[in-house]
């Protein structure tokens, strides 16, 4: 198992290519799925809605957390030791 992970970690470019292929395949598959039973208008009418939702949510969360951290919430590890 360790060897397999070593093998994978050494091949950044190929792994990225595989991952991007999977992501594109999932995105394209979403166009063929029946959305008539979806709950909201957006899900029914925006192609690949959940892909867009996923990436936008991810960016919102990462940058909100970053902003929150830099807004004075993050302190040194010895903050409570004094």
């Amino acid at each position: 198992m360790i060897r397999i992970i070593d093998f994978i970690l050494k091949r950044h470019r190929q792994i990225n290519a595989v991952l991007v292929t999977i992501i594109i395949a999932i995105f394209l598959w979403s166009f063929t799925v029946d959305t008539s039973h979806a709950h909201t208008w957006a899900e029914k009418h925006i192609p690949g809605f959940w892909s867009l939702f996923g990436i936008v949510s991810c960016i919102i969360l990462i940058f909100t957390a970053r902003w929150f951290s830099s807004a004075g919430i993050s302190k040194g590890e010895d903050y409570y030791d004094d």
Binding site: L52, F53, I73, S74, E77
Partner: protein, 598 residues
Amino acid sequence: MTTSCFVHPSLILILGGLLLPFVRGPFRQPYLMVVPIVTFINVIYLGLSPGVYGQVSFLDWQLVFGRIDALSGVFAFIMSLMAILGTLYGLHIKNEWQHVAAWFYVAGSLGAIYSGDYLSLFLFWEMMAFSSTCLVWFNKDDADAPAAGFRYLLVHTFGGLLLLAGFVLRYQVTGDIAFELLDYENSRLYTWLIMSGLMLNAAVVPFHSWLPDAYSKATVTGAVFMCAFTTKTAIYALARACSGFDILIYLGVAMAIYGIIYAIIENDIRRLLGWEIISQVGYMVAGVGIGTALAINGTTAHAFAHILYKGLLFMGAGAIIQATGKSTFTELGGLYRKMPFTMLLMLIGGLSVSAFPFFSGFVSKSIIIAASYQEHLPTVGFLLTMVSVGTFLVAGLRLPYLLFFSEFKGDESTIDKAEDPPWNMLLAMIAAGSLCFFIGTYLPFLYSLLPDQQIPSFTPYDSYHLSETLQILAFTGLGFILFKDRIGARATINLDLDWFYRRAGKLFLWLAENPVQWFDNVWGKAYRVVGLSCLMTNARFSAWFDRRAIDGLVDGSARGVRTMGRQVSRIMQRGNVQMTICYTVSFIAIIMIAFIWL
């Protein structure tokens, strides 16, 4: 007891725990496994015949120790199952008191789940608080553990008082202590007090700061127990008393978002997992708030799945902390070479919490989201789905990346010490991981345990839901690849609402050490100069009179009491606050038992 065959599962654990210190040598480990297994079998047996057992009349009240129905049955099932896994994980631990505390903690949880009145609920509630505090205090490897234990105990005492005040007020108004659904339409002060008391144990924002604080300071095994019992018992109690309370929907969504934001920037493994508990319990609180049959089924299913995968993640985190002695991402990394099995099992935990198809989170979390859409709450559904993006980002990607695959950042001795844990810890992790996979693939196992079997069974494996989940996971993965450096490890702590009471404690100390101490010094000096000489003369005379005249009359009994008092204080007052609390609680328990039985 109304039924002769009813043996309370908590009783087995309590008696088992009391006998444990006397079971030594080669019998210890088999005994440790037998007691929780017998408890688990007892819970399954009780689940076969629902009803109300263990009714005891106490003063004017009717106490119910055994309300067994579909809801209490499924929660008791998973709690007793987790007791087996947790005990197996800690099987190698020599300190028997850790096992005793853990079993009392589980006994408190099972007792609370089976109780049908507020008084017995409160007693078991407090039993959980005290015994789990010991699981923090037993951690000798962290200098901050005693302080964290006190903070945890004080916060839970406050929560217990809210609950107590609530049900006492309710008793004044209604004359009833039955632990049933509260009336939301005609809510009164006691409704909110009871709800707040239960919410504190569920770590609902703003009553949540105790959770990452205590869970990151507990013993390795203690944290595995703690991550399962307190919050999920509180979810059970909320589902019982506050189902359909609208406000819980919004609080649940708020805590789901709040927890995940903190988890994204956290540097300590167990604090990160603690923040994620808050986030995941947010789904359950929202489910209780929605309150429909589907939502309560979803809440129950998610609590069930959550106990297993979160237990697994805490077991993995514990294995790393035990092996390396480090708990922060800035001191760890690249562990896949040294701890491959731990990595594999933590990945299974991460995939389960991230709701990957074929793992437990996928078949449980989506029920709550579906229930929100069904009740025409699309915003709630979208926000909870956004949180599941964050969950995959944190537990499925950031956590394994920083622990196992990123560049090692600590000193060489840390990585040299790292190795997979002993067989019992590994076996417990394999069992939890297998259950995560089993639940995700064989739906009837979990779905047949859910409280409402009348509604149509939920079908998570349809093409639309699969496509939705895979798109979300794939594009979250893409986001992580693009921005992973922005959420890397940083050696910081993140301030939270506990800042207020931690700082208030320091302010109190400052007041005591400065103005109060100054006044005391001045007063003491004046007293010594003016009043002391008069007082001493008077005291000498009184002492002489007391010893010669009064003591002589009562045959020296005062001297006898004084000698005995010195002996007692020498044995019992050693200046250790934990021991003093232990003696006090034991004394109260003895008096209460004596009062009930005599």
